[in-house]
Symmetry: C2
Subunit: 495 residues, 2 copies
């Protein structure tokens, strides 16, 4: 047994996109379900980063997201104590173009920084067991990948799910077994089967759930895409060569220049196809490693059943919840008091600014609510009452026509941008910690209980120069209170 889990040239590509629809109101457009810290208190994306951190080099963790989410994702991961100090590299697709283009982009980028890179592509919207069994699986997969194969991880199915894709295993591949983990040839990939077919799959013992996890040499990813495109065996694979080539062109610049108009136009011109269809189903160089890992698709709010133990009537109650006589229901409260009476097969999810009540059998249709809210232009679909920032976070307490009140938390050693507002004055009251405040030419230190006044138009900055968290209450008064009334003169985050 290998006791050093570190695998040479291994790079993790953690996928973190998502639209925040199926998990609303816990997820929002700017905080998709990967950000939600309800499963064991740690967000799914943080768990994914932790899961690979022991296996890769210091500069081997890359998170792939889209441009809209980049700032939010960075702020989120920065706020996670569990991965403090870990170097995380960020890649942002210029436009969402499905997984073939995304994986190709990541591969092209990795080839440039490490020609022998082996990439493990890891979706972050699942719960997945980590630990020794997971690492053993990864080592076997990496060994196969080093030989040039595109290696998928297949999960032992526990029931005939019709919503997943399946992989049929072929004969074992010698040379990389570790204990009972060994790679297999792939006979076929099967899209979501019907119930009967799924049941038959389980009976054979030859089918695995397609986990969406891929382990492969970065250059092999690009090569197999190119070959698949040349074969053009299916409609989906006919553009694969273009995907490989264009991703290479886009990634040939440093990531910071990916957002040039040219790169954006190039990338946007790519076909939007899944990597499975663009490469895996066409390639002759695939393998599957069956993994008997505990895994949970956090596919809908029904996943909240795993957050707490159920009571004797089959309810999962979590947070400040009082129930009388309900059955088989999920009630989750983030903060406020929720009382339930005589429910049956219901889901109640309560957050600071929005509540969802749904019949359990409609859990997959929460997106219909999100669609309706989008049509209305409801703020609650985009973000919650709180917003993470690179320097900390803020929470809106009340927003009136001519005033608003926020709490603002600044991390030790951080500061906001040097800024001014054209339409509001602000009062800052320090309620925890000590603030260093700049107002035009003056600098003052405010201790807990003290306050400062920021006149309209003055150039000001808030800083936590101390070693403990700083929290202030900000009362803004003015005729226009939009977040866009800000002029930034200096910013530690180049915003």
């Amino acid at each position: 047994m290998n006791t050093t889990p570190h695998i040479p040239h291994l790079h993790a590509i953690v996928l973190a996109g998502g639209s925040g629809t199926r998990f609303w109101p816990l997820s929002r457009e700017l905080a998709p379900k990967q950000f939600v810290s309800i499963f064991g208190g740690v967000s799914l994306i943080t768990r994914a980063v932790m899961r690979v951190s022991t296996m890769v080099d210091d500069s081997g963790i890359h998170v792939l997201t889209n441009e809209r989410l980049l700032d939010e994702l960075r702020n989120h991961l920065k706020s996670q104590a569990e991965i403090k100090g870990l170097a995380v590299d960020y890649l942002a697709e210029p436009t969402p173009r499905n997984t073939a283009a995304a994986i190709a982009l990541a591969a092209a980028y990795l080839v440039r920084i490490d020609p022998d890179a082996i990439m493990v592509v890891l979706p972050s919207d699942h719960l997945l067991e980590d630990g020794e069994r997971w690492e053993r699986t990864m080592r076997v997969a990496a060994g196969l990948a080093a030989e040039g194969r595109l290696v998928t991880l297949g999960l032992t199915p526990s029931y005939p799910e019709t919503g997943y894709g399946y992989i049929r295993m072929g004969s074992p591949i010698p040379g990389h077994a570790e204990e009972n983990v060994l790679g297999h040839e792939v006979v076929e990939f099967v899209e979501k089967p019907d119930k009967e077919t799924a049941e038959a799959f389980l009976d054979t013992g030859e089918y695995l759930w397609n986990s969406g996890m891929l382990v492969a040499r970065a250059d092999a990813v690009l090569r197999e895409l190119t070959l698949a495109g040349e074969k053009a065996a299916t409609e989906a694979s006919s553009g694969s060569a273009k995907i490989a080539q264009t991703a290479g062109v886009v990634a040939a610049s440093a990531p910071s220049t990916w957002t040039t108009d040219e790169a954006r136009a190039l990338f946007a011109s790519l076909p939007s196809v899944p990597f499975d269809k663009a490469a895996l189903e066409v390639s002759g160089r695939v393998a599957v490693v069956p993994a008997d890992l505990t895994w949970s698709d956090v596919g809908s709010l029904l996943a909240l059943e795993s957050v707490a133990d159920s009571d004797e009537r089959g309810n999962t109650l979590s947070g400040n919840v009082v129930d009388v006589d309900s059955h088989d229901s999920i009630v989750y409260s983030a903060d406020r008091l929720v009382a339930t009476l005589g429910l049956k097969d219901m889901i109640v999810v309560d957050t600071a600014d929005a509540t969802l009540v749904a019949s359990k059998d409609r859990a997959q249709d929460v997106r219909l609510i999100v669609d309706a809210l989008r049509v209305m232009g409801a703020r609650e679909v985009v973000e919650s009452r709180s917003s993470l920032r690179p320097w900390g976070s803020w929470t809106m307490l009340v927003k009136g026509d001519s005033f608003q009140v926020k709490t603002i938390d600044v991390l030790p050693g951080h500061r906001l941008s040097l800024q001014s507002h054209g339409h509001r004055s602000e009062h800052w009251i320090v309620v925890e910690g000590t603030a260093l405040v700049t107002i035009d030419d003056a600098t003052l230190t405010l201790s807990t209980g003290e306050s400062g006044y920021i006149p309209l138009g003055s150039v000001h900055r808030l800083e936590n120069a101390g070693a403990v968290p700083l929290r202030i209450v900000e009362v803004a008064v003015g005729d226009y209170l939009g977040e866009d009334d800000i002029v930034r003169y200096e910013d530690d985050w180049s915003r």
Copy 2:
């Protein structure tokens, strides 16, 4: 037809008690359902006061409540623009002892201030039509009452309700008819019947719902109670004479002295029985006036169905609500966003600090939730996030361990008490209007956008000397933030 509705010697006794259980979370212990301003925007108690205000003398409106609710009730009615300027007299029972003792107390009090007083006892937890038809009914009832009868108002039943008491009418009483309204003898009072009996009642056309409304001379109330006690025909009536006598003794002092220990002990010693059982069912001097008035028992949250029109799927949606595919459900949001998906026969009520989700067929059991919350000592059962005060109101925005943020609204021309705190300093930021602020020996005027600092221990006062409303944001910082950390030096309300 009498065109001046004013009725000589008429005094309204508006009953306003209630425990806030069946209408939670819209009602609370300190804000029972009479206070809830959801039906047409005006609270039930305000409607009751408005309904009698045109018929009684300037000093003829008396609201009877209990000591715990007295301040809240006064603050509530003071905040109601619809009855601004109306003189309202307050009576508070020393202890809740059911309606026989309460009505006797009110009667004894009225006899003292107006020996010819006719009292109309009006519960305030219903919706009731007012207008000309209501006034005509009152005139006929008052005419019968002037002759010494205890006159009940009976409502024409519209369906065989099993939760109400019924009154069987006897022959008409000549001499007081007005248009089609005339009084009848009473054959019997019947407690909540079963379904079959109720259906039979409706078929006869002789039975009316017992509205709980009573019109009688105050001295007749005390006399009939005394006679009932002497007859002692039932267990309930055996203590009636004592009720009449003790109420007379308690009421012999001014209301302000009712809370002496002696009065309290006397009143507490009275049997707790309803007036119907203590007097009406035993007395030979009763009458009933059938009233074909639109009336609604606001008996449970199901009454919210009358707040808005129902949609094509039978839902009543009110407030910031988004629904997809629900049926026959009530969704009421006071403020926050509530989304519902695929509900059937459900009630959802959302307020700033608590949400209730209940099966419609359990509407009568909301008290079970309230009981559970009481056992937990939950603040949400006692009061909401906002609190009315004689000078205005406040709303808690956030309460941390060492700081809290409130908005405080002060009515024009009003001021808070001159006070100090031993454990907190306060920052006041004016966000609407102009504040006159006293801090120890200094007085300053703060305009919108300006702020003042109240150091720990300083003697201070907030006043709205202007003609428009004043709103401030108060940020308090300290090691103890309880409402009881207050020393009052001067108070316009003798608190």
